[in-house]
């Protein structure tokens, strides 16, 4: 008995590193040490921003990669959370702004985003595959125009400004280093959560539904409920990202949830790769770096042409994004080293 428990206890300890993966540990350590070498600009504008958009794209990857539902409404969901933060918290636009403390505002904002996402999911799961993309695009565009025209709730074209990240434990969380760790914490947490849930019963069921909905229905699974719950989970991720986004920008306006941003999220996810949760983060870093430094190469004006062409190239060359590209190159490299060996 005691032997058995000892063995049980030893087994996970033994392959603790294997279970998490050496790559993950190295990555986590590197990211934790990153603030020591990086300037404030690289800390927030590059790393923090990439992680926020990485989480947003991760919520899309959860839907598209595991559920087979390609959504263009993730930024809309994040926008709902961002607007909720502005409305329930305090802003300087003199419209609404209930002034609630952040620890009430954030759960409400995330819940609102998750419920909205579930609603969007409930509407769009009535159709399949490529249709989902159309419907979510229509929803995203309609929300954008509505936010632009509605002054009672969304404060129209100008949106809300003067939204501050909370200050507690004596730390202003909008300062570069704390904000970086906030983003890092959220990114790691959501990455681990998606990785875990993909191996959970629910994740397995969702992937099975993606592969063959008819068979799963015949086996007695409630296909719609599973899909809508996936949308709910993705909504939580997108909502959290939306909260960080509004703290980062300090403002939210219809431009935040525009169609171009919605398409940016899709580009990030596709460039990174939709097969593994690390893909969206890779894509986010690539796109944000391009966004920041392409100005030096092609000028700020023609940035969209560049990113559009890169996107086209990725779609043509490697449907699985950069991850897929790596997956294809890796065997060649391994063989190369074998050949070079003797």
């Amino acid at each position: 008995m005691s032997l058995a428990t000892a063995a049980d206890g030893a087994a996970p300890q033994q392959n603790w590193l294997d279970r998490i993966g050496a790559g993950h540990v190295i990555l986590a350590v590197a990211l934790l040490l990153y603030p020591l070498v990086a300037s404030d600009f690289f800390l927030t504008q590059i790393a923090g921003y990439s992680m926020i958009f990485g989480v947003l794209a991760l919520s899309l990857m959860l839907l598209a990669g595991y559920g087979g539902m390609l959504s263009l409404a993730q930024i809309t969901v994040a926008g709902i959370a961002a607007y909720a933060v502005a409305i329930l918290g305090s802003n300087t636009s003199n419209v609404l702004g209930f002034g609630w403390p952040w620890w009430i505002v954030v759960p409400f904002a995330v819940a609102a985003a998750a419920v909205t996402s579930a609603l969007i999911g409930w509407i769009s799961v009535r159709t399949e595959g490529i249709y989902t993309l159309m419907i979510t695009l229509a929803i995203a565009t309609a929300t954008f125009y509505f936010a632009q025209q509605n002054y009672a709730i969304f404060n129209g074209h100008s949106g809300y400004a003067g939204i501050h990240a909370p200050v507690f434990w004596g730390i202003d969380w909008r300062d570069p280093k704390p904000f970086y760790f906030l983003c890092l914490g959220l990114a790691m947490l959501s990455y681990a959560a998606v990785l875990y849930s993909s191996r959970s019963t629910f994740g397995m069921t969702l992937q099975a539904i993606r592969d063959n909905p008819r068979r799963m229905r015949a086996l007695g699974y409630h296909v719609t409920a599973h899909k809508v719950f996936a949308w709910f989970l993705a909504g939580i991720l997108a909502g959290l990202a939306g909260v960080l986004l509004v703290w980062f920008n300090g403002r939210v306006s219809p431009g935040t949830i525009g169609v171009d941003v919605a398409i940016d999220i899709l580009i990030i996810a596709v460039i990174g790769g939709l097969r593994h949760p690390i893909g969206p983060f890779v894509g986010a870093i690539v796109v944000i770096l391009m966004q920041t430094f392409a100005i030096d190469i092609v000028g700020a004006e023609r940035f969209n042409t560049l990113i559009g062409l890169v996107f086209l190239a990725i779609v043509f060359v490697s449907p699985d994004g950069i991850l897929g590209l790596w997956g294809r190159i890796k065997p060649h490299l391994a063989q190369g080293s074998l050949r070079a060996g003797p």
Binding site: G129, T141, F146, V259, N304, G308, L309, L312, P319
Partner: protein, 349 residues
């Protein structure tokens, strides 16, 4: 599957004779009410509810014109989708590029009709080029085709911004299309007994007429010609059409040419009625999406019905509840999806 469905559908239509009659009655009643609303002289209480007869009838006419425009854009979209399962998210870009080309040609040559023709022809050529060089390479992969169209629309929007900048253009209409038409609709009666008739821009009536003519033409082409037969067969079963010896690629190219050409045509026509500016591509892409979702994917009749619904809803919404016009469009879409997920005229798959 379809054999199994047969009895249930026939029994439905058996019981549907009375149902159809009921719908016919409802339709007649609605038509009578609309006719009365348009031609009768309104009592004061109705004027009080609906602002004024002029506003109401103008909204309906504007809605019809807009519906015509939407139909022109969406019919190409729905044809391409129905045949190739390819959601061409660059369709809005085709509209805008057509409008810009129409503007350039019209302002340089001075002939508006030449501009319209250029918009159609250039876009049709671009459509064929896209089909041959892009979509044929990705055949059978719907998702990648759609992603490619997103990429194309981004690049196209940016390049158009580079060439034509952010300004707003208006395509000049020729003189014979200017002026107003006095319609036999009495909007009010003056105190001296004279009737005030409704006037409406001639150009918009022409847009509506053009949309109807093109709609009928498309219907004839699809239902009465050999190419149309191939297209319809392709919509139903692409593989079978290919197996029976038809060059499917040629059919695809024709459909893409017609669809893209119509988008360009609509661009010039719409750019003359309204204006040409960056951002219009997204607006018309959204319109086509909603029209096609509501009307049913791949159906020309569906596109016409969807365009009517959305165009009227948008203009009536603009007059009576300006802030929530978009929401009305959206509600129509959601209700359609809830009641008939495949769209009003769509086939269940």
């Amino acid at each position: 599957m379809s054999i199994l469905d047969q009895p249930s559908s026939s029994s439905l239509s058996g019981g549907g004779v009375t149902r159809r009659q009921v719908w016919g009655l409802v339709g007649l009643l609605a038509a009578a009410i609309v006719a009365w609303l348009v031609f009768a002289i309104w009592p004061a209480w109705l004027n009080a509810i609906l602002i004024s007869k002029k506003a109401f009838v103008s909204a309906i006419l504007n809605g019809l014109t807009l519906a015509g425009l939407y139909f022109l854009v969406a019919s190409g979209f729905t044809l391409i989708f129905g045949l190739m399962r390819n959601i061409n998210l660059a369709h809005g870009s085709l509209y805008l590029l057509g409008a810009y080309i129409g503007y350039e040609v019209t302002s340089r040559t001075g002939y508006w009709l030449l501009g319209v023709a250029a918009g159609f022809v250039v876009m049709a050529i671009i459509g064929v080029v896209m089909q041959v060089f892009v979509f044929r390479r990705l055949e059978g992969d719907d998702l990648r085709q759609t992603l490619v169209t997103i990429g194309i629309s981004i690049v196209a929007a940016d390049l158009m911004l580079a060439v034509w900048a952010g300004g707003t253009y208006q395509i000049a209409t020729p003189e014979w299309l200017d002026g107003a038409l006095t319609l036999p609709v009495i909007t009010a009666v003056r105190s001296n007994g004279a009737s005030v008739f409704l006037t409406y821009p001639l150009y918009r009536v022409v847009v509506l007429a053009a949309a109807i003519v093109i709609g009928v033409g498309l219907w004839l082409m699809l239902n009465k010609t050999r190419v149309g037969m191939m297209i319809r067969a392709g919509v139903d079963d692409r593989a079978m059409l290919s197996a029976s010896g038809v060059n499917v690629h040629a059919v695809f190219a024709i459909v893409f040419a017609v669809g893209a050409g119509l988008a360009g045509f609509a661009g010039v026509v719409g750019g003359s009625a309204l204006s040409v500016a960056p951002g219009e591509d997204v607006r018309y892409l959204l319109a086509s999406l909603v029209v096609v979702i509501v009307g049913g994917m791949g159906s020309i009749t569906g596109a016409a019905i969807g365009a009517l619904l959305i165009g009227l809803a948008e203009q009536i919404g603009l007059v009576y509840f300006p802030t929530y016009g978009v929401v009305l469009t959206f509600v129509i879409m959601v209700v359609t999806l809830a009641v008939r997920p495949q769209g009003i005229m769509g086939k269940a798959r």
